[in-house]
């Protein structure tokens, strides 16, 4: 009897022992969590659980043990840089706003995350809204502000709901409002909902939108830290930047600045998407190589396909080729490679991705999101789109590449805001690293990746065809002729090149060329 219980126990032990430890699974083991410290371990709608994990302790410290100038000094010394894209020194921003005169001062959190494939900010708010609230309150204390806004896009209903709930809880506990934690500090935060215009993530457009004006960028004659929202001193930081603040204040600037590279400290959250085995939200030390991120944490490319490029920084970023995979990820290195850190979207592309098509996609995106104020951005992106469409249809001319380059430089020079000045980046970076692919399209009228519909044809390889008829049954356009025990034939003038036959044929009997 006793023996049988023993053996059951041992069996159970053996069973649990074979489950790998989280740290030995690269997806989790290679990550270091600061901004995402509470992901998966607290209920985002319970302020008590946040408090149980050191929540609001940094604010308590900031109100009792530190002077506002000390908070600014800590952030300065931590070398925290803005996580929204530009990488501006957060401490310098805070110091400038703290010094500026004018009442009231404002703290704005930019949660207008709009890059395709990026969802870091949404995830932080959904998992740990109080970390952002606490970071904003600390900023308020540091610069002498009493009002904060979170500018969040309407497309994030759950994040907005969770944030709204968190704000109510914080108010109920007196962690927002008058005399927070028995101090002389009063601060409250309000949600401003964006209507989903990409350009409203740009600082001056975002401010205009909060003010109730059309969300268009304006020239930056003044620093926003001196004349920002309603011409008052304003600090605008991204969600992830604010989420980093409480741990820095609690554990000290040196703790934070000991991590990362010389000019990029701490960690960065990335959303790893595209042709990658482990799609996911990751936080890694600054300086981790792209190769480690993609092949270790991300688990490489699915279906044994070859890696082609990784796109970082959203529509403002660029495509980085395989030869640069050992580059360490920080603000400077990514810029050198013709891309940028951006907010942290990372789109992995495999051999089946056409780089002309990728460039076209991003230009199309910026073209439809351009606010139209600057002719260079509005019509420049239109012209670029025309050229790229022409190339992908096999109607490209030899001089198109030079024209694209000239246009890119003109748009960069003449546009007012970041959307315009960075929109040519996807074109410039693909031209820089994948020029031969453009030339294939233009000179040989071929799309090497087999993506551009006008340049490919699908045919049946007779030697591989098993006469099963699967392609015939699946063709939505009735463009395939087949009878039992006969080889299928694709009628080219009816074929819409959807590629379904290519996907469903298990015998590699459909050729895409």
């Amino acid at each position: 009897m006793g023996d049988s219980t023993m053996s059951k126990e041992t069996k159970k032990k053996e069973k649990t022992q074979t489950i790998p430890d989280l740290n030995s699974v690269p997806f989790f083991g290679r990550q270091i969590l600061i901004a995402l410290r509470n992901r998966g371990r607290i209920n985002p709608e319970s302020i008590d659980e946040y408090i149980a994990h050191d929540g609001y302790q940094a604010l308590a410290k900031g109100l009792t043990k530190l002077k506002p100038t000390d908070i600014v000094e800590q952030i300065k010394q931590s070398s925290l840089r803005g996580r929204g894209g530009g990488g501006f020194d957060t401490g310098r921003k805070w110091a400038s706003a703290a010094k500026a005169t004018g009442e009231p001062k404002y703290v704005i959190c930019n949660a207008d995350e709009g890059d395709p494939g990026a969802y870091m900010d949404r995830s932080i708010i959904e998992a740990d809204p109080h970390s952002v609230i606490e970071g904003m309150a600390l900023c308020g204390r540091a610069i002498g502000s009493t009002v904060g806004y979170v500018y969040i896009r309407a497309e994030y209903p759950l994040a907005r709901k969770i944030l709204g709930h968190a704000l109510e809880q914080a108010r109920a506990y007196g962690l927002l409002g008058e005399n927070i934690l028995d101090s002389d500090f009063s601060f409250d935060i309000f949600i401003k909902q964006g209507a989903g215009a990409f350009v409203c993530g740009e600082s001056s457009a975002l401010r205009a939108s909060i003010e109730g004006n059309v969300g268009e960028p304006t020239p930056k004659y003044d620093h926003a830290t001196e004349k920002g929202l309603w011409k008052k001193p304003t600090v605008l930081n991204n969600v992830e930047s604010f989420a980093n603040v409480p741990p820095i204040i609690l554990k000290g600037a040196q703790w934070f600045s000991a991590m990362g590279t010389e000019h990029s400290k701490g960690t960065k959250v990335f959303s790893l998407v595209g042709k990658i085995v482990n799609t996911g939200l990751i936080e890694v030390l600054m300086g981790t190589t792209l190769r480690d991120i993609i092949f270790e944490i991300g688990g490489g490319i699915p279906d044994g396909k070859a890696f082609k490029a990784v796109q970082t920084g959203g529509p403002s970023g660029g495509c980085i080729p395989e030869s640069l995979l050992d580059m360490s990820v920080d603000f400077e290195e990514l810029s050198k490679a013709g891309s940028m850190m951006g907010s942290g979207g990372m789109i992995v592309m495999d051999e089946d991705t056409c780089m002309v098509n990728v460039a076209k996609y991003f230009i199309e995106f910026c073209n439809s999101e351009s606010c139209g104020k600057c002719i260079s951005c509005r019509d420049g992106s239109e012209a670029m789109l025309e050229i790229l469409t022409r190339i992908s249809e096999g109607k490209g001319k030899e001089e198109d590449i030079t024209l694209l380059e000239e246009l890119s430089n003109a748009i960069k020079e003449a546009s007012l805001c970041g959307l315009g000045t960075s929109l040519p980046n996807p074109v410039l970076s693909t031209l820089r690293y994948f020029k031969e692919e453009y030339q294939e399209h233009i000179v040989h009228k071929r799309c090497p990746a087999g993506v551009c519909k006008a340049l490919i044809t699908f045919t049946v390889l007779e030697k591989n065809c098993t006469k099963c008829g699967v392609c015939f049954k699946n063709c939505p356009y009735e463009a395939i002729t087949w009878k039992k025990k006969e080889i299928a034939v694709i009628n080219q003038n009816q074929c819409k090149k959807c590629g379904i036959c290519y996907e469903v044929c298990k015998f590699k009997a459909i050729e895409r060329k």
Binding site: K12, K15, T16, T18, I19, P20, D21, L22, N23, S24, V25, F27, F28, G29, Q31, I32, L33, I34, L36, R37, R39, G40, R41, I42, N43, P44, S46, D48, E49, I51, A52, D54, G55, Q57, A60, Y119, R122, S123, E126, A127, D128, Y156, L158, A159, Y173, G174, L175, G177, E178, N179, I180, L181, D182, M259, V277, N278, T279, G280, L281, I282
Partner: protein, 127 residues
Amino acid sequence: MAALSIKDLTAIAKKTKESMQISAQGPHTKITVHMGTCGIAAGAQKVMDSFKEVLEIVDKKDVILTYSGCAGLCSNEPMVTIERYGEKPIKYINITPKIAREIMKQHVQKGNPLKEYIIAKGYENIV
């Protein structure tokens, strides 16, 4: 609710830690369904409902059922973390309501983790 003082913060932290704590006396298991937008899109709500249904039948005192934001591995959602007293938390991936019921039966009630749905056990690197 009156505004908190710093002392109150510490008290809330202590009380919450205790109430969320699993122990030998019970509750002995904590189930966390990861319910970010991504998880819900992949079916986490149905998984949650399925745990709730089973908990209607079995002894609720023994189990804390809660939820959190996204656990990070989007490609394998819905994800669930099960932590039993004295054991490291175990992360399950690609959970369906059916698997959730099985987890309740085998892992939560009998202590036999369902290895085929588990990615790993342990804690993340929080610095």
